[in-house]
């Protein structure tokens, strides 16, 4: 859906490059949703086939523990089965949270579980939350032409580098997305015409305000799927704060033959590729005679907001907290993607920074890239960091011209110098 939004922007760019597109240009949600849903179904099918090919029995049942070696499964038709095994892996993930204290939240609001399956356009939407889920959804909804508002309780992208997070939301705000900062919803009501009235409180002033929307999308966090598993029956311990399952470096829970991987495990990045790799390595350890453990440090990721944000390693705040301001050097640059020039696009938030140790050879601690194709740019540099890259080595890498990624290899202005970090020239 982010791609649909990007294509919308490209249609606008196209006329600068000579393409004579007649306006108006409309977006048909139904058509997009159908195409996306069909593709997802083909993936579902592909997974079923793969399981079959590898002789893995697939049971569509809701499972919970009876004891540490036995699981009880219930089908949709309410039939019960008992299964026992030597090893059990829990990978039940999480589900979106509803703000249960907000009247009408459950009846009238939807979550990311629903948005991708909607057959009709969500229309004018209020997205509640400051997570990457909230911002990414708000981003593509606005990108396909819908009136979109984001309501934030406090800061956007908690846990991410805050300077970068500000630039992300700044870009969204300057491209038509409204932000209600420092506000919390108190009530959702359905109006006679079917639309939703949301009432909220501005935390700073204490004032109440309200607005009318077609859709309210809750993106305020996800809860791990552990409550219905009857983990106590197996003796598997969870964190009292997060409700996630406690695991060790071997992905084992408090019960040696029961493992947990993915979003349901405590202390793990909630990312698909880490879950996949953890699972692969676990299988290799259990049955392949390997002893390789999963490395969870320096995991790269990308937030697919309208202007994408790719990062790996430490945020500037984390680096300073860990090493002290005096021992950290940050090199940065504001750059303009070549494709934006002729398209007359605003590149004010296109920004890169690397956080390194000040001491030579200046080991790279973190890379932050805000711009188009951020995921593609970041992946290779994540490899660099894995290889222990230093700023010195980065500077010896010749750039590929013309790309956005080359600007990473050309960073030379430090924050400390106070000099203007705007890239000039070709």
């Amino acid at each position: 859906m982010h791609q649909a939004a990007l294509l919308g922007a490209q249609i606008q760019d196209a006329h600068h490059y000579g393409w004579e597109v007649t306006h108006p240009v409309q977006h048909d949600w139904k058509k997009m949703a159908e195409a996306v849903q069909n593709y997802i179904k083909s993936l579902n099918w592909g997974h079923r086939v793969q399981l079959q090919d590898r002789k893995v029995k697939y049971l569509n049942i809701k499972a919970s523990f009876v004891n540490e070696h036995t699981v009880c499964g219930v089908t949709k038709a309410d039939k019960k089965t008992l299964l026992s095994a030597d090893h059990i892996v829990i990978a039940t993930g999480g589900r979106p949270k509803y703000p249960m204290h907000v009247e009408g939240a459950l009846e009238y609001g939807i979550t990311s579980d629903d948005i991708f399956w909607m057959k009709e356009s969500p229309g004018k939407t209020l997205v509640v939350g400051g997570s990457y889920v909230a911002l990414e959804c708000a981003g593509f909804l606005s990108g396909v032409g819908l009136d979109t508002t984001v309501m934030l309780r406090s800061i956007p992208l908690r846990g991410f580098d805050q300077q970068m997070s500000s630039l992300v939301t700044e870009h969204m705000a300057s491209h038509g997305i409204q932000f209600l900062r420092g506000c919390t919803p108190s009530r959702v009501r359905r109006l006679p015409d079917g639309r939703l009235q949301v009432t909220w409180e501005d935390r700073a002033s204490g004032n109440e305000d309200s607005g009318t929307f077609d859709t309210v999308l809750w993106a305020i966090g996800r809860v791990p799927e552990t409550r219905s598993l009857n983990l106590e029956k197996a003796g598997v311990i969870i964190s009292p704060d997060s409700q996630k399952i406690l695991v060790d470096a071997w992905e084992a829970t408090s019960v040696p033959h029961i493992y947990a991987i993915g979003d349901v495990a405590e202390g793990r990045p909630e990312l698909t590729p880490t879950a996949i790799m953890a699972g692969k390595l676990l299988a290799q350890r259990l049955f392949g005679g390997s002893s390789a453990l999963m490395e969870y440090d320096n995991v790269p990721t990308t937030v697919f907001t309208p202007l994408e944000y790719g990062c790996v390693g430490l945020s500037e705040e984390e680096a300073v907290a860990r090493h002290g301001q005096e021992c950290v050097e940050v090199y940065h640059a504001y750059y303009k993607p070549l494709e934006f020039t002729v398209a007359e696009r605003d590149a004010s938030q296109c920004y890169i920074k690397v956080v390194c140790l000040r001491e030579p050879p200046q080991l790279l601690l973190g890379l932050h890239f805000l711009g188009p194709s951020a995921g593609e740019v970041t992946q290779g540099f994540a490899l660099g960091i894995k290889c222990g890259a230093s700023y010195k080595q980065l500077m010896r890498t010749v750039g590929i011209h013309p790309t956005c990624a080359e600007e990473v290899a050309k960073l030379h202005i430090s924050k400390r110098s106070g000099l203007d970090p705007t890239v000039t020239g070709c």
Partner: protein, 459 residues
């Protein structure tokens, strides 16, 4: 002081400050490539729900104007930059007359003489002509294409260089009827498996290839903007002769160094007589100690803008900044911006076999389907990734190749990683960013030697 002068092309084209890249190279090329990509995006967008009038035409003049305006702003930017750094910019043709002395001739033919303690030659190259009847009068080159005031129409591109393929690619992408005439192989010097894949994709998308032919005569049938040209070509593989009629013939058969008419013989700077290139040592010094050279004219160095810029920067720092750092020419990454982009760093498979021996190499490869192409119903099992590893050296990655969208963006970071000694293990230990194309390199499993199929499945 900078002496910069552009000798007009046979068609009279000239340009401002900034060299080939800014004016008649990377920059306009990438912008035209972007125009072509946007054409494709317009097509894809319908599958993602975007609706607008089916008939979308491309207007050449609009594109040229926009691109030339941007180039103009870069020329201006460089003029300002020179001024701000107190560098005198003289728009004159420079040539050595004796040691430490150059003659600078301006557009009007007036000559001025300058002396200096040190000189840097960065005169670059210009496109080569065929040396056949009608070539200079009727054919254009990349020097002319990027500011051509009229749409080139049905075009024959002669050559198999990346210049030829990139130009053919974007011309086809904006809707023109394009043919490419190739004497022998595509992209000489590049990994040939990748080169063939680049060519196949272009062919599948409407570019016609005339392989193993060379033009022998170009005749003008009609003058105009564009006119009509008749091209006669002979096969390199037999007696066959073919003829074709085109609006434009674009020659992209190579570039020649601008080193033969700048008085180098007067000060005994040695050049390679065969190709005009200047051999330098590892501090970019010619055989004459006070004369340095950088950029495309260097013998044995990659002909790339960032290499030239890096070499120049470091040279300046060594000469005047008390620094000692040398330009690192190893594992310089590059990207070819053909319709399906090709990014690479390190050795081609052929070169790697030469250098390390086939038994010491392991090649991992896979086809992949970018997520954005799925809903757009674009070719699956076309994009391709491969790495070449040197087994005895910890499976060190000595060659990196990707054929797919945003190839440049993907390749850059991996080039930095190769600079830091990237190995297969490190790739395997790194988590992929999902969903991207680049992540494919963190999960390469199938080797060429296994012979296993590399077609796609799963998310």
């Amino acid at each position: 002081m900078v002496l910069d002068f552009v000798i007009p092309s046979p068609h009279g084209t000239t340009w401002g400050l900034g060299g080939t890249c800014v004016n008649v190279g990377c920059i306009p090329k990438k912008l035209m490539h972007q125009a072509a990509l946007l054409g494709q995006a317009l097509h894809d967008s319908r599958k993602f729900g975007w609706e607008y009038n089916q008939q979308v035409k491309h207007n050449w003049e609009t594109m040229i104007e926009a691109i030339q305006n941007y180039i103009g702003s870069l020329n201006w930017g460089y003029r300002v930059s020179m001024r701000e750094n107190a560098v005198a910019y003289i728009n004159s043709y420079g040539e050595f007359v004796e040691h430490h002395k150059v003659k600078a001739t301006n557009r009007k033919g007036q000559a001025t003489y300058y002396t200096a303690a040190k000189f840097v030659i960065a005169t670059g190259e210009r496109p080569r002509y065929l040396g056949i009847q009608g070539d200079k009068e009727y054919c254009i080159t990349s020097d002319d294409l990027f500011s051509l005031p009229y749409c080139p129409g049905k075009t024959l591109v002669v050559g198999a260089s990346y210049v030829a393929l990139e130009c053919a690619g974007f011309l086809a992408g904006i809707g023109l009827d394009v043919s490419v005439m190739v004497r022998s192989i595509l992209l000489r010097g590049f990994d040939q498996e990748m080169a063939e894949k680049v060519g196949s994709y272009m062919e599948e998308h409407g570019v016609k290839f005339l392989r193993k032919f060379v033009p022998v005569m170009i005749q003008q049938l009609e003058s105009g903007s564009p006119g009509k040209l008749k091209v006669v070509a002979k096969s390199t593989d037999g007696p066959e002769t073919i003829e074709g009629i085109y609006n434009t013939v674009l020659l992209a058969i190579g570039r020649d160094s601008c080193t033969r008419k700048i008085g180098l013989e007067k000060i005994s700077v040695k050049i390679n007589e065969k190709n005009g290139k200047i051999p330098v040592n590892d501090v970019e010094q010619t055989n004459v100690p006070y004369v340095y050279a950088i950029g495309d004219i260097l013998e044995g160095k990659p002909e790339l803008t960032p290499v030239a810029i890096q070499a120049g920067k470091l040279l300046a720092r060594r000469l005047f900044g008390g620094r000692i750092e040398k330009c690192d020419y190893i594992n310089v990454p590059t990207t070819i911006f053909t319709p399906l982009e090709y990014g690479c760093c390190g050795l081609s498979e052929e070169k790697a076999i030469d250098v390390y021996g086939k038994e010491n190499l392991e090649v991992y490869h896979t086809l992949f389907w970018p997520l954005e192409w799925t809903v757009a119903e674009r070719d699956n099992n076309t994009c391709y990734a491969k790495i070449i590893c040197n087994r005895p050296d910890n499976d060190r990655v000595v060659g990196f190749h990707i054929l797919g969208p945003n190839a440049g963006e993907v390749t850059q970071g991996f080039a930095a990683a190769m600079k830091c000694g990237l190995t297969k293990q490190l790739l395997d230990d790194t988590i992929g960013i999902h969903p991207t194309c680049g992540e494919i390199f963190t999960s390469l499993e199938i080797t060429k030697s296994s012979g296993l199929a590399i077609t796609q499945k799963g998310c």
